[in-house]
Subunit: 336 residues, 2 copies
DNA sequence: AAATTACCCGCAAACGTTTGCGGTGTGCCT
DNA sequence: AGGCACACCGCAAACGTTTGCGGGTAATTT
């Protein structure tokens, strides 16, 4: 198998007995170059599989045509779909994408930001980690004129474009749905207090209760947003099981985990306890009973975020920062 | 908010009244530079948040310290864990990772390969798409001296390092398990014939039958490897339901989809029909009954693949290409 | 005092590309 | 025949970094 190193513009120039500048221009059909030369150059380039060196281009143009993406964990369906949306739109506009995971770890997030900055990405799309309280790493790249669009998990302290789900309405809808079906004591498995998504869903839960003239019982709100945490709080949840008739979890994994827990303990879902989640993960449709939840349009949010960022990169700057709010959709299934 | 463009080595040199070469050397404590100068440079660099320009580095050194990853779809848990493993190891070794999805589309895969090649990634980690029959796009980058390590979905036509699961043994184990529990007519929902994983699992299925002195009935092998395909073949599967007592699906989503289908049709799992999958996706533990399956060590495979690639990049070339085979582990749950 | 040595540091080229500017040759007009 | 326009192409600098080599100054040796 013959090895042929990547040919450069100079290699082509040498082989054809012309200058590098001529090759460069010929490749883009510059009017200064004769049709004849253009054709010769293009043919030869094609034949040797010439591909421009993006590093050199980026170095010269001071823009890499690459956007960086940081999400907590790609294993979560919502974030994977977000990424798919981003990729599809970005590719279409001639941008490449570098994806990083913070693993919900603040330090890792800082490193990711720095690494992407080192690679001179033109812009950043970010969903912050659960443990991110400080925003200096983001501020620094913004000072370098690298714009950021926050998605879903936004960073409150920073003025920027944002793409979010209407978490408040979504939560209100699904909790109202349970209340309308006669549930009265609904446990809320909530997210951390410093994540906007968690707070908004919590507020939606509260508003639904208020709307139905039910007092909010703070004892019915637990910080519990992962299957692991459900396991940790196992006894606590089981102890409450007889006093509740519904659960609203901040995401679907947690909802499903709590469902399994209660089913194993002999409870009938939804007869004894109704359960609802948030996100419409594929598991929602695979568990039994299937999970009532709130659908988030991850793919569309990804596209929108990428579109917002790219339009900003291309200088189409609307006066102020925008916040795109995607509607949440109630997905009624069998668990509530 | 003040904007401060990214300082270069020359900016530092100018500010400190020294040459760029001195700054470059001072930053890495080169013995030619006095302790005094080193300290001054490093302090100043720190203060202005100097970060080397990776594009320039890559251009000069002809290596980008970046490895490209192509997987079919990140939404699948196996591939996300694979990526996590890759990232963790690569980061540790000072490499960055660029992730692409082929969406099971051959053309998209070709574009991905080319894009990563354009970015002068030092090496490639690839799981091929279902629709990939031709390998020329891979051969071309290998000719450019960019090594490839195939993971899970390997490319048969190419000599290279490989990291795979022992699909044959895994399938044999889980099918044997069903046979030992008295199942006799097991439907196999198989993958496409040109994917090694599918073929190997198919072979494992066949071997298990042979081992138990049961004739292989080709009518019990259906090409059906996604929930969508299960839906398409709905009537066909239901028509067979009374004549089978087990199902072995090539992956967990397909297993779960068939389980839902049969449950909705009134069959009891596993009493009427046992069901097993492959992969140990998180859903396996969330559905009811929980799914018996075969565990694949995605994270470890990712780490191993990255390690293999990086050692090759660093010139530690074992004589021939290696194939690392990870053992499959039977995960017995309640569905079989 | 002259010569050697060590210690610091700068010059310039190179990686691959783009682009303003200047140059050459040909044909046309007067 | 001289001037002009036009078509075509090359030179060189620049992006940020590294690195071999050469040079200058001061300290040490003979």
């Amino acid at each position: 198998m013959m090895k042929t190193l990547q040919p450069s513009i100079r290699d082509i120039a040498k082989a054809l007995g012309v200058s590098a500048s001529t090759v460069s221009r010929a490749l883009k059909n510059h009017p200064d170059i004769s049709k004849d030369t253009c054709q010769k150059v293009q043919e030869y380039a094609e034949r040797v599989h010439y591909r421009p060196n993006v590093l050199a281009l980026g170095l010269k143009s001071q823009r890499s045509q690459t956007i960086g993406v940081i999400v907590p964990e790609i294993v979560h369906h919502f974030f994977s779909t977000l990424i798919s949306g981003i990729e599809d739109l970005a590719y279409g506009k001639g941008y490449r994408v570098m994806i990083c995971q913070s693993n919900e770890d603040y330090l890792r997030e800082v490193i990711n930001v720095q690494a992407l900055n080192d690679h001179r990405v033109d812009g950043l799309l970010v969903s912050i980690s659960k443990s991110t309280l400080d925003a200096n790493h983001f501020i620094r790249v913004i000072q370098n004129e690298v714009p950021i669009v926050f998605m879903d998990r936004i960073c409150h302290d920073i003025q920027s474009d944002r793409v979010v789900t209407n978490d408040f309405e979504g939560a209100k809808m699904v909790v109202s749905h349970m209340l309308q079906r006669g549930r009265r004591r609904i446990l809320h498995l909530a997210g951390p207090k410093h994540l906007t998504v968690g707070v908004e869903r919590n507020n939606g839960y509260r508003q639904a209760l208020v709307d139905h003239h039910i007092a909010v019982d703070e004892d019915l709100i637990l910080h519990c947003d992962t299957p692991q945490r459900v396991e940790t709080r196992r006894s606590q949840i089981l102890a409450m099981a007889n006093e509740i008739d519904g659960i609203f979890a901040v995401n679907d994994f947690t909802a499903v985990a709590s469902m399994r827990l209660l089913q194993d303990a002999g409870y009938n879902i939804p007869a004894d306890i109704a359960i609802a989640g948030f996100g419409d993960d594929p598991i929602a449709d695979m568990v039994s009973p299937s999970l009532t939840t709130v659908k988030q349009r991850g793919y569309d949010m990804g596209r929108e975020a990428a579109a917002l960022l790219i339009s900003r990169l291309q200088g189409i700057q609307p006066e102020r920062f925008q916040t795109k709010v995607f509607p949440a959709m109630l997905k009624v299934r069998n668990s509530a």
